[in-house]
Symmetry: C2
Subunit: 479 residues, 2 copies
């Protein structure tokens, strides 16, 4: 059991040092390796397999809502990036610049895309001519680059993987509906596939995307009370279309500008999964996106018939579930620890006595509940158990979100909560960015997360300046 002890000892506990716990899990679960370029990570097979499952699930949702995938170039000429004023101000400070291609010094710098609005606009200007060409519902899976000063695996990589949807519509109403539709696709995905509840709402002017008219967001709550931007959907109006000269002949035969949206989620979601569901034994993965759903660990596998039976069971399950049979010569205890570290939702133990009795043992990763299951009912029981893990994870995450949501009715309460109770703070706000700045400075970083779609009238005045309140806002520190 020395190995098992070593493995468990190797993780810092969440209570002791959450940041170190996070880093330990990411490394011990073999998700990430560092490269020699700061902020550019190696996605190892286990980390990348989670991303592949996320992609597959989301891609089906995008296609079901009529979207098509494309691939845009990774390089953007400086002059193209500069075409939309607010956008370039937001992104130019954090891009990587290519200045030399082969033997030739470039006459114009090219940046590695930090996001692709301008590339889509350049293309749309060529292919949109008539209302018959609309809507354009495009999506792209790719990597993007933002030159970050402080980096952390999944949460803040300089290079990260994501999808970016970019759509064009005949009317403002249609574009607004698309913005909201895709926000809901994200929220549903978080709930149904990641077992993570979110707060849905609109970003304040100060926090919205560079160049957008409005930005909507989903905000999950981490185990330690820190928030994270889980995904965003932007409505652009016709601002970019005007800057890029994208026009179409309308049904009334006049020349019009189309209305635009963009929306994205990234590998940062994997950070959210770790920090929402994980515990002191490591990762806990929601079954829908777990690379291995059931780890089969033979017990006393040197005894006659054990491995054969374990293989037979694995074979009978492998079309319905993602199965890993571990027949290596490591000890069962070591294997238990390893699959706990890797967050495999279910462990299946099978030994000589089980085989005699035509049964095996299922162990849930989330609450360690053990069930003895007859082999003839195994497939149905696994199905149920995976659903139970999903539901259990969601309930626990919802409880955490609710318990870590506080209400501040005045400035002192706000500061007290910010200091002593990490989580969301619900509080009224006048609508002035100056109050956002003041609250952030006074609390060491609490920012507006969103104006939720479901507002409550907690008070009549702004928690910061005392002027009449316009909105209820969720506030919080963020990753």
């Amino acid at each position: 059991m020395a190995e098992q002890k070593k493995m468990v000892e190797a993780i810092t506990s969440m209570e002791e040092d959450f940041a170190q716990w996070y880093t330990d899990v990411v490394k011990k679960a073999e998700m990430i390796d560092y490269s020699s370029v700061k902020g550019c990570m190696v996605f190892r097979p286990y980390g990348y397999a989670i991303w592949e499952n996320i992609q597959k699930d989301l891609d089906a949702r995008f296609k079901a809502t009529g979207h098509e995938n494309v691939y845009m170039p990774m390089l953007i000429p400086e002059s193209l990036l500069q075409k939309e004023k607010d956008h370039v101000e937001g992104f130019a400070p954090e891009v990587a610049w290519v200045t030399q291609g082969g033997q030739e010094k470039l006459s114009e710098r090219l940046c590695i895309r930090p996001t692709s609005e301008v590339l889509f606009c350049e293309h749309y200007a060529k292919v949109i001519n008539s209302y018959r060409d609309l809507p354009k519902l495009y999506n792209q899976w790719c990597s993007v680059m933002r030159w970050e000063k402080t980096t952390r695996p999944f949460l803040r990589n300089s290079e990260f993987l994501w999808q970016e949807g970019h759509t064009m519509h005949e009317t403002a109403e249609e574009a607004q509906a698309e913005t909201m539709r895709m926000l809901n696709v994200y929220a549903d995905f978080y709930k149904e596939s990641l077992a993570i509840p979110v707060v849905k709402g609109q970003k304040t002017e100060k926090e919205k995307f560079a160049g957008a008219v409005a930005t909507y967001t989903i905000e999950p709550m981490m185990h330690n009370g820190v928030a994270l931007q889980g995904g965003t959907s932007h409505y652009f109006g016709d601002g970019f279309a005007k800057s890029f000269g994208i026009t179409f002949t309308g049904r009334d035969n006049t020349l019009r500008y189309p209305h635009q949206t963009s929306w994205g989620v990234s590998t940062r979601m994997i950070g959210a999964i770790i920090m929402v569901h994980g515990d002191d034994s490591g990762l806990i993965l929601p079954p829908k996106i777990a690379p291995v759903q059931v780890a089969i660990v033979p017990v006393a596998q040197h005894k006659a018939g054990v491995l054969e039976k374990a293989r037979e069971v694995a074979d009978s399950l492998k079309d319905a579930f993602r199965i890993k049979l571990d027949d290596s010569d490591n000890s069962p205890g070591w294997k238990f620890s390893q699959y706990e570290m890797k967050g495999v939702p279910l462990r299946l133990e099978i030994g000589p006595r089980d085989i005699e009795q035509g049964q095996c043992v299922l162990v849930r990763r989330d609450n360690r509940e053990k069930t003895v299951v007859k082999l003839e009912a195994l497939s149905a029981e696994i199905e149920k158990a995976l659903q139970a893990v999903h539901d259990g994870l969601y309930e626990k995450a919802l409880k955490n979100l609710e318990e870590k949501t506080f209400t501040a009715r005045n400035y002192d309460e706000f500061l007290d909560i910010a200091e002593n109770h990490p989580g969301f703070i619900k509080a009224m706000w006048c609508g002035d960015a100056a109050c956002e700045d003041k609250l952030k400075d006074a609390t060491g970083g609490v920012k507006s997360r969103c104006i939720p779609f479901e507002e409550e009238q907690l008070a009549d005045t702004c928690v910061c300046c005392g002027k009449p309140a316009k909105h209820m806002v969720y506030w919080g520190k963020q990753y």
Copy 2:
């Protein structure tokens, strides 16, 4: 029919100008758009969907042979690229260099990956310690960048999409077997999914990959007699392992170097599909990777019941096939031309008289053969027809390859064929690179394609210098 005429007129014929025909098809079939960075293309939905189908098919073949996907950073520090001498000489002249990140001028240049051997090696040095860690069978789907002077959609992009497998093995034999296994996976994929026959063989020393011990290749033949490198698989021995200090403790407890392979295919395959199968009406897609396998065109769709029936037929087929029902108000003739241009393997026509008789008409894209099919037998007939299109395409491509393969027994024959008969030239070779140079110069670009696995003894002496021949070589001009 004016529109239809316009559409057909818009393509140059293959005989008249093959290069222009190719460009016309790529644009008219809406596969590619140009961006403002030379050689960096927009993969439009139709072009990208072909790539998605290719990915899905190949990825399943890679996973079935035990490979796992990872994602490596896109940036390589100059010092890392320089660790393997031959490799850097091959690639350094054609990479794009990042010299500035955010506000900061970088102390070391970073190149955008032209290929990822050095990144995999840097990672492998950290995660390979024991023979128990081997083999490592990793693959990556990503985009890479090579700063090309002359570019052409799919065939020579500066940025292109590809997969690159990178594996590490305990012994040289195991690595050599992997090299060959993956070459065969590629050849099978070309035959089974792209309906393209290939010549398999080994590259000469002069033509092998920078840093490899041996490079193997598959070589399809285009319709116009020009060859193309269809995919390569490299055996590296332990050269990179030594440069990067990758060692493992062997079964005998001594420190050893692992043996390495890499293998890749790219979006260039789409160029091969176009040039092997296409005709003067546009693209012809092999059914296995066609984004739309059956285009349903209602005839006289304004008549009562036609659209309803067409939709019913589409619904009944959509789980088994990739179906596009075109109920737009364009004329049937226009639609026929459009789906021919896009290379949809089967067209299904259904009009009032067909409906009365419980039938429809199937038209094959490859040979325009029409069959009247009873609706109750439709699904089975489509299955058969798609297989027939696949087989027909393969047979035609094989005939083209065979007819465009010539044998040269002496220098004059070689020059005559090179001048008058575009295609492969089979000829004997002494093994000296000087003869490769001489033949290339004398013919305006005919290079050695490969030493085929199945050699014939055409003569005893080198076709160029007359010294004793070591090998039979396939020669040809290439894209």
